[in-house]
Symmetry: C2
Subunit: 346 residues, 2 copies
């Protein structure tokens, strides 16, 4: 039986304006919750092992007048995101102490989860558990459903992925290769570009920070044009993509990371190409596809086992590193999927 | 046998920058072409009865460095667009003198059409022939395929149509009612708004020129949000629509008329709603759906016969009125489908 008197927690200090800084976030030591679920409760108490840092969290750090697709964080409260956890105590029939799960948890050592139905039991503990924050978790499922379900790829099509070395992008590229597509990615450093070409089997890649003209860079990489754009950044990248699309192309919008720190989003000017090239641009929320998770988990576990999909993680150590790890996403400091190791599986 | 010594023609004088003016267009009397097709030719010679004025023509009046979806007009040459014509002479087995057709023709009295395969024979000459430039022609088919094939409406859905009294918008609204939807339109004058409500059976309508806040106007008209946006204008209208969309809504982009006169298109800022509301935004070109024309013609002829679809035309008289009629589209001078009557059917 685990015992704890304190619980290190990561809280939002204040709503964020512009680029988030470590000062917006605070690590506070609180009293530990009871590590045993009270009688009659259907909650579970978990010990968090790995916590995921994802760009979409930035959206929750600003106050929205109109309810957004996901609730805003509240200053003074513990931040939350997906993580890998061990169940310490369960009042829920589907879970028992010792189970390994992934799902929405608190940015802290110990979390009481009152809706454990939202958690997934980990079926492949032989794979590094941290992968359940990335390739086998929400980012991997985003790549999978965005690429296969939304873009509906055909063999031989030309695929462009922005933020391609990130948690989602690196998986999209490899799935595109599995689907028989030609895939080019963009990233923000030569190191990341190299990773795309050597580790993630992209056919080509470029460092967008070194390209004075993004539209021309895409034209150079796609002389025949782009069939599928997997959009992770939005803004100027999307504007450069539109004239390079092929007729009946598809733009899957997974995120618009370049816009999250802006008070007012950038305008995208080239939308008439939607008409002149008969394009489909479609956004999606991965939460709506959680029903596909088990099918995805088995398929992806197979790809990992066979070496057809590789992943690169950027693992920071300890809860104290969470503020810097989250903020670093927006300067591109991370190389690969950013997460934090909070505790070892004992 | 028709005889003619002269052919009044409407030519583009110069490439247009900004808002087109009548000075950009010139009416010139040229020599008449031979009104009999030479032996061995598969062309047809037609006498034009009605010529259509459509906003997309503006796109062809600017020079494009990169080929567009449709060729640019050439200064000094006769303008072209869809019209209703009578075949005077035919070298093509599918047509004979006396046939009534609609399709791409010249802005002139007599035109030699070298690819008559692009013409449609008119199967319902009992309906006013001018309707084949509108409700039974390209704009009607645009409304039909954009609404039914692209947006895929369900009974009870909320539909918004911009430029709703125009050639396409008026038909979309009535098809939406036939599909059991709730439909609201916007237009640029109280007269047009009145037409939407009384003649075209829109559930509600507003004059966008009187609304200081388009987003708020849409919120007022759609307290539950919009399922389907049939987009004809783009720019600020599209930006106001996006926050008002319901989850899994569809934006069918038929045109972006507000942008055609701009050197640089306006930026659309609210695109992140594509993600947060899982929206699909899709453009289309009606030419790609011409294979459906016969099915459409029969269905629409039935609606017209039964009084389920009405149409309002703005018919100018004579070739000399073509420059003003075309230019007037961009100031909203026309009420309903703009066309020009060139010659009577004799």
């Amino acid at each position: 039986m685990e015992a704890a008197t304190s619980n290190k927690t990561v809280i939002l200090k204040r709503y964020v304006t512009g680029v988030p800084s470590e000062d917006d976030i605070e690590v506070v030591t609180a009293e530990a919750p009871p590590l045993v679920v009270p009688a009659g409760s259907a909650a579970v108490v978990v010990k968090n092992l790995y916590l995921s840092c994802d760009p979409y969290m930035r959206i929750r750090m600003t106050r929205h007048e109109v309810p957004n697709f996901i609730p805003d964080f509240i200053p003074g409260e513990v931040l939350a995101n997906n993580g890998v956890s061990k169940v310490l105590s369960s009042g829920h029939p589907d879970f028992k102490a010792g189970d390994l799960v992934w799902g929405m948890t608190g940015w802290e050592e110990y979390t009481t989860i009152s809706n454990p139905e939202s958690l997934f039991k980990i079926n492949h503990p032989e794979i590094p558990l941290s992968y359940y924050t990335g390739v086998l978790g929400m980012p991997g499922l985003s790549a999978y459903v965005g690429f296969f379900e939304v873009s509906k790829p055909k063999k031989g099509e030309y695929v462009f992925v922005s933020a391609a070395s990130g948690a989602v992008g690196q998986i999209v590229g490899q799935l595109a290769k599995i689907a028989g597509c030609y895939v080019v990615g963009s990233a923000g450093s030569d190191e990341k570009v190299n990773l795309l070409k050597t580790k993630f089997s992209f056919d080509d890649a470029f460092n967008y920070k070194k390209e004075p003209d993004l539209e021309a860079a895409l034209k150079r990489c796609f002389p025949e044009g782009i069939d599928i754009n997997f959009e992770n950044v939005g803004g100027a990248t999307l504007d450069a993509v539109l004239p390079n699309m092929r007729p009946r192309g598809r733009i899957v919008v997974c995120g618009m990371m370049s816009q999250y720190n802006l008070e007012r989003p950038q305008g995208v000017r080239n939308l008439f190409y939607l008409v002149s090239k008969s394009l489909r641009m479609e956004g999606f929320l991965v939460f709506n596809y959680y029903g596909m998770y088990r099918r995805f988990e088995e398929e992806m576990a197979g790809y990992l086992r066979d070496g057809r999909v590789a992943c690169v993680e950027d693992i920071a150590d300890g809860l104290d590193s969470l503020p810097a790890a989250l903020v670093g996403l927006f300067s591109g400091r991370n190389v690969g999927k950013q997460l934090v190791a909070v505790a070892a599986l004992d």
